[in-house]
C-alpha cells in the first residue's frame, strides 16, 4: 500500500524535532553535571549509551561494568534501524546539520567514496589499541569530543560574555539594576559558575570543533562520512540492520534523492541505491521522491560489500598503527616517571586510570572549582585529555566527591565523601625562597588558614629571627605536616604570591603502601 504523500513529508520534521530534543537533553545533562543535585547515573547517561566508548573500555580495562550495558540499547537500535543514532540522536550530528553551509558548498563534488575508509581505520586503531590497554583515540569519539569542547571552551566563554554584559548593564543602565540582579540570582546558580571558571587551551578545543563544522563546506556531514569512529562502528552494525532503504521500480532516475542525501550515499551509478552503513535514516529522500519510489522495508539479508568497507588491509593498518603508537607512547619517559604535576583526581592514580579513562570529560565538568582539567602535556600523548588536577586553577573541594560519582567507567573510583577526604592525591611543598614569612619576614598564614584538614596539615612555627637589615622580627612560618597533607591544593590555589605559588602540590613523593 503506497503511503500517502503528506505522511512522507512529515518524517523529516519529526526527525528534526527528535534531533533538537536529543541535543537539548544533552545540553541539560551537561549543565546539570556541574550543578549537582541529579544522580550521577542520570548525568552521565550519554556516555554510557555510547557503544564505542563502552566497547573500547571493556577491551582495554578487561572489566565488565553493569552500567555500560546501556550501550546495548544503541546497538539494538542500530541492528533494528541502521545508523538512526547518527541521523536522529547524535548531538554532534545535529550540530553539523544546523551548520550545514549548504550555500557555501554549492555544487562542489564530494571527495571520492574511498575516503570513507578513513573512519574505519580510525575505528580499527581504537579497538586494536584498546587490546594494548590504550584508549587515547577515544578523544575522537563524537560524544566525548563535543562534551569536552562544551565544558572546556564554550561554557567558560559564555560565562565570561554573560558576566561582561551583566556588568555593563548593571554599571551602565541604573534602571536595569534590579532586573540584572534578579537575572543573575536566578540564572547563575543553575547555569553559570559563581566564581569564573577557567580552563587551559580553551581556543584549542573550540578550534577542533569549529574545524569539524567547517569541513561541512567540503561535503555535508563530512565528519560522519569520513572520520567518525562511532559512525564507523554503527555503520558496520547497520550492514546487518533490519530496516533499510529500498528503491522500487517506479524510480524514474530524477536524482532528487541523491541531491538531498546528507551523507551522499545515494548514487546514480548504482540505480540510486544506498549503503545502509552510510545511511543515517534521515528520511529526507523519502520526502523528496516525487515518484514514491523509496521505501524502508525490513530485510534480513546482509547488505552488499562496498569497495571502501574494511578488509584485511585496513585491519592490518589499524593494528600496525596501534602497535607503533602504543610502542612510542610507552617509550615516552612519562609512562615510567610521572610528570611532577600530574596530579590525578582522588583515587584515580591508584586505579590504572589510563586503561579506563574514555576521555569524556565528565569529571572535569563536574568539578566545582574547575581544578580538573584535560591534560595536554602532563601525561604525554598517551594520556592526552585524561583528567589532571591543576591547583593554581582550582582546588580539590573538601566537601565534594563529584568526579568519582560522575565517572561513567569508574576510572576515578566512586569514593564516599569520607573516603575522598582522606585520599592523598599529592603532597604540598613550601618554596621557602619565595614564601612571604620565610623570605620576606612578613606575616602571612593563608595556606594554614585555608587548609581544610581538621587538624591542619600546615602548622605555623613561631620563630624570632633577624631580618636582612638586622631587625629582630617575630614570624609565623608555615610547615607541612606530611602525614596529614592530602594534596587538595587549596594552599597553592590561595597562595597570595603572584605567578607561581610559594606552596606547590606535586605528585606524592614516595609510593604509598
Amino acid at each position: 500500500m503506497p503511503t500517502p504523500r503528506i505522511n512522507r513529508r512529515v518524517w523529516p520534521h519529526l526527525r528534526r524535532a527528535v534531533q533538537y530534543l536529543a541535543l537539548l537533553l544533552f545540553l541539560i545533562l551537561f549543565i546539570w553535571s556541574r550543578r549537582g543535585g541529579w544522580p550521577a547515573e542520570v548525568v552521565n547517561l550519554p556516555m554510557r549509551l555510547d557503544p564505542l566508548a563502552m566497547l573500547a573500555h571493556l577491551i582495554a580495562s578487561r572489566t565488565l561494568l553493569a552500567g555500560s550495558a546501556l550501550a546495548l540499547i544503541t546497538v539494538g537500535l542500530t541492528l533494528l534501524l541502521g545508523r538512526a543514532w547518527c541521523g536522529w540522536l547524535c548531538p554532534l550530528g545535529t550540530l553539523l546539520d544546523l551548520f550545514s553551509f549548504r550555500r557555501l558548498r554549492g555544487k562542489r563534488a564530494a571527495p571520492a567514496d574511498g575516503w570513507r575508509r578513513v573512519k574505519h581505520v580510525v575505528l580499527l586503531i581504537i579497538l586494536s589499541a584498546a587490546l594494548f590497554t590504550n584508549l587515547t583515540l577515544l578523544a575522537l569519539d563524537p560524544l566525548t569530543l563535543l562534551f569536552r569542547t562544551l565544558s572546556a571552551s564554550v561554557w567558560p566563554a559564555v560565562d565570561q560574555l554573560v558576566t561582561a554584559v551583566e556588568t555593563a548593564l548593571y554599571r551602565g543602565v541604573p534602571l536595569l539594576r534590579p532586573a540584572v540582579s534578579a537575572f543573575d540570582q536566578v540564572v547563575r546558580p543553575v547555569v553559570l559558575p559563581t566564581e569564573p571558571a577557567f580552563y587551559r587551551f580553551t581556543a584549542l578545543y573550540a578550534a577542533v570543533l569549529l574545524g569539524i563544522i567547517a569541513l561541512n563546506v567540503i561535503a555535508s556531514r563530512f565528519w560522519c562520512r569520513y572520520l567518525c569512529p562511532l559512525g564507523a562502528l554503527l555503520g558496520l552494525l547497520s550492514k546487518v540492520g533490519l530496516v533499510r532503504r529500498q528503491v522500487n521500480s517506479s524510480c524514474n532516475a530524477c536524482g532528487a534523492c541523491a541531491r538531498v542525501c546528507p551523507t551522499g550515499t545515494i548514487r546514480a551509478d548504482k540505480a540510486y541505491a544506498s549503503d545502509p552503513a552510510e545511511c543515517t535514516m534521515c528520511l529526507d529522500c523519502l520526502a523528496a521522491c516525487p515518484q514514491q519510489a523509496i521505501a524502508f522495508p525490513a530485510r534480513f539479508k546482509p547488505a552488499a560489500r562496498e569497495a571502501y568497507d574494511p578488509g584485511r588491509r585496513q585491519v592490518l593498518v589499524g593494528l600496525g598503527a596501534a602497535v607503533a603508537g602504543v610502542g612510542l607512547f610507552r617509550a615516552n619517559v612519562l609512562a615510567r616517571r610521572d610528570h611532577p604535576h600530574l596530579i590525578r583526581p582522588p583515587g584515580a592514580r591508584e586505579n590504572d586510570l589510563l586503561d579506563k579513562c574514555i576521555r569524556c570529560g565528565e569529571c572535569s565538568r563536574a568539578c566545582p572549582t574547575s581544578a580538573i582539567q584535560p591534560a595536554l602535556s602532563e601525561a604525554g600523548l598517551e594520556g592526552l585529555w585524561t583528567p589532571v588536577l591543576v591547583p593554581r586553577i582550582g582546588y580539590c573541594d573538601y566537601s565534594c566527591h563529584n568526579c568519582g560519582q560522575v565517572c561513567p567507567v569508574q576510572a576515578i573510583p566512586p569514593l564516599s565523601l569520607e573516603e575522598k577526604r582522606s585520599q592523598v592525591i599529592g603532597w604540598a611543598y613550601i618554596d621557602e625562597r619565595r614564601c612571604i614569612p620565610w623570605a620576606d619576614f612578613e606575616p602571612c598564614i593563608v595556606c594554614e588558614e585555608m587548609c581544610p584538614v581538621p587538624d591542619k596539615a600546615i602548622v605555623l612555627e613561631e620563630v624570632d629571627v633577624l631580618s636582612p637589615d638586622g631587625q629582630p622580627v617575630h614570624v609565623q612560618r608555615p610547615r607541612v605536616v606530611r602525614e596529614r597533607c592530602i594534596g587538595c591544593g587549596i594552599c597553592e590555589y590561595k597562595c597570595p604570591v603572584n605567578g607561581e605559588a610559594a606552596i606547590r602540590v606535586v605528585v606524592p613523593g614516595r609510593d604509598q603502601a
Binding site: L169, P196, S399, M450, Q476
Partner: protein
C-alpha cells in the same frame, strides 16, 4: 533567516551603543550616588529595655520586648541603655532575642521599610554548624525574624565562602533552611557587584572593592561565630566583614589596621557574636569536634569594637591582645575599655 545588510547591522550596533552610552551618561548624572559613610544610627530615642542589668537573677526573657508606651514627656531623661548585652544559657534563638531586647529592641536599629543585610560567617562548605566553623543557623534566622518584626522592607543574608561554593555552603551550614523559614533571602554574592569604595577614612587600606549592596544597605548586621584564627588570633565581628570584599589577601598584611579601616567604611549598625559554640583551635575551617566548646552565649552591641573585645575574653584574651580591636579603638570606632562599659547580663 532574514538577510541583514551591512548598513542595517551598523545601524543596530550604533543604536545599541547609544543606549549603553546614554545609560552611562545617566549614571554619571548621579541617579543614585553611593551613600557616604555615616556613623551608626544615633541611638536617638532608645526604647528602655524591660530588664535592666540590676542584679544577678536572670529576668524573664524569651518573648519579644513589648514596645512600652511613650512617656508623657519626651524630654524625660532616658533610662541608661547598656552598651553591650550578653545572654547566657538557653536556646540560640532565645539568646538572640534576649540580647537584642536588652539593647532596646531591634526597632532601635531597623526602621520600617529598611533594606537590611545580615552578614553571618559561612566561610566553608565543609561541615554542619556543630563544628563551629559557620554561624549558628538559628542565631541568623532569629535576627532575620527580629528585623522583619521591626518592619524591615527586606532582609538578605549573604557571605562568600573561601572553601566550596556559596550555594553548597548555604545548604551545608543549615543557614539557608532557617533563614528562608524566617522569611529572609539568601543572596549569592556575584562578582559584578563589587565596586571600588571610597576609603578616604582609612589609615592603611586605601583602596578596596566592596559588595555594593552592603555599601547601600540601610542596616548591616555582622553575625560572626567566635572562633580561632592564627593570624588575627580570633575571628569576630570585624574580621567577619572580610566576607564582603573582593581582595581578601590584601587584608592579610597589617591585618589589625586594615580590618579597622574596613570596619570604618562599613560601620555595621549591630554586631551579634555567636558564641553558642566556639571553635578554640584549628580555625577558621574546623572539622574536629574536640576543638569545639559549647558556651550558649550571645553577645550583642551596636559597638563592634566592644563586642569583639568582650568576645575575646571568652577565649581568655584581653582586648588589647587583639590587634584589630586596638586599631579600631584608636580610630574611635568603638570602645575596648570593658570596665567602663555598661554591660547587661541577661
Amino acid at each position: 533567516m532574514p538577510d541583514i545588510s551591512r548598513r542595517d547591522m551598523l545601524k543596530w550596533l550604533a543604536a545599541g551603543l547609544g543606549v549603553l552610552g546614554g545609560g552611562w551618561f545617566l549614571r554619571a548624572c548621579g541617579l543614585r550616588p553611593e551613600r557616604t559613610p555615616v556613623p551608626p544610627r544615633p541611638t536617638g530615642t532608645p526604647v528602655p529595655p524591660t530588664a535592666l542589668p540590676t542584679a544577678a537573677p536572670t529576668p524573664p526573657p524569651g518573648e519579644p520586648t513589648p514596645t512600652p508606651a511613650p512617656t508623657a514627656t519626651p524630654t524625660a531623661t532616658p533610662l541608661p541603655i547598656p552598651d553591650l548585652a550578653v545572654a547566657r544559657g538557653g536556646e540560640p534563638a532565645a539568646l538572640v532575642r534576649r540580647a537584642v531586647a536588652a539593647l532596646g529592641g531591634m526597632e532601635r536599629f531597623v526602621r520600617p521599610g529598611d533594606d537590611v543585610i545580615v552578614k553571618p560567617n559561612i566561610c566553608v562548605a565543609y561541615h554542619g554548624y556543630e563544628y563551629a566553623a559557620t554561624t549558628n543557623p538559628w542565631v541568623v534566622s532569629e535576627l532575620v525574624r527580629l528585623c522583619l518584626e521591626a518592619g524591615a522592607g527586606r532582609v538578605r543574608v549573604m557571605d562568600s565562602p573561601f572553601g566550596g561554593s556559596a550555594e553548597q555552603a548555604y545548604a551545608i551550614s543549615g543557614i539557608r533552611e532557617q533563614v528562608e523559614a524566617a522569611g529572609g533571602t539568601m543572596e549569592i554574592m556575584t562578582s559584578f557587584k563589587f565596586v571600588p569604595a571610597d576609603m578616604s577614612m582609612a589609615l592603611d587600606l586605601r583602596s578596596c572593592d566592596i559588595y555594593e549592596d552592603v555599601l547601600n544597605a540601610d542596616v548591616v548586621i555582622s553575625v560572626p561565630i567566635a572562633k580561632h584564627h592564627n593570624l588575627a588570633r580570633l575571628t569576630l565581628g570585624m574580621k567577619n566583614l572580610m566576607g564582603v570584599i573582593r581582595d581578601r589577601p590584601a587584608i592579610h598584611r597589617n591585618v589589625g589596621q586594615r580590618l579597622a579601616d574596613l570596619t570604618a567604611r562599613i560601620r555595621p549598625a549591630l554586631t551579634v557574636v555567636d558564641a553558642v559554640r566556639i571553635l578554640t583551635a584549628n580555625g577558621p575551617t574546623g572539622g574536629n569536634l574536640a576543638d569545639v566548646r559549647q558556651l550558649d552565649t550571645i553577645i550583642a552591641s551596636p559597638d563592634i569594637v566592644a563586642a569583639d573585645a568582650f568576645a575575646g575574653t571568652l577565649f581568655g584574651l584581653r582586648p588589647d591582645e587583639l590587634e584589630y580591636v586596638r586599631a579600631a579603638a584608636a580610630m574611635g570606632l568603638g570602645r575596648m575599655d570593658l570596665e567602663g562599659l555598661r554591660i547587661a547580663e541577661v
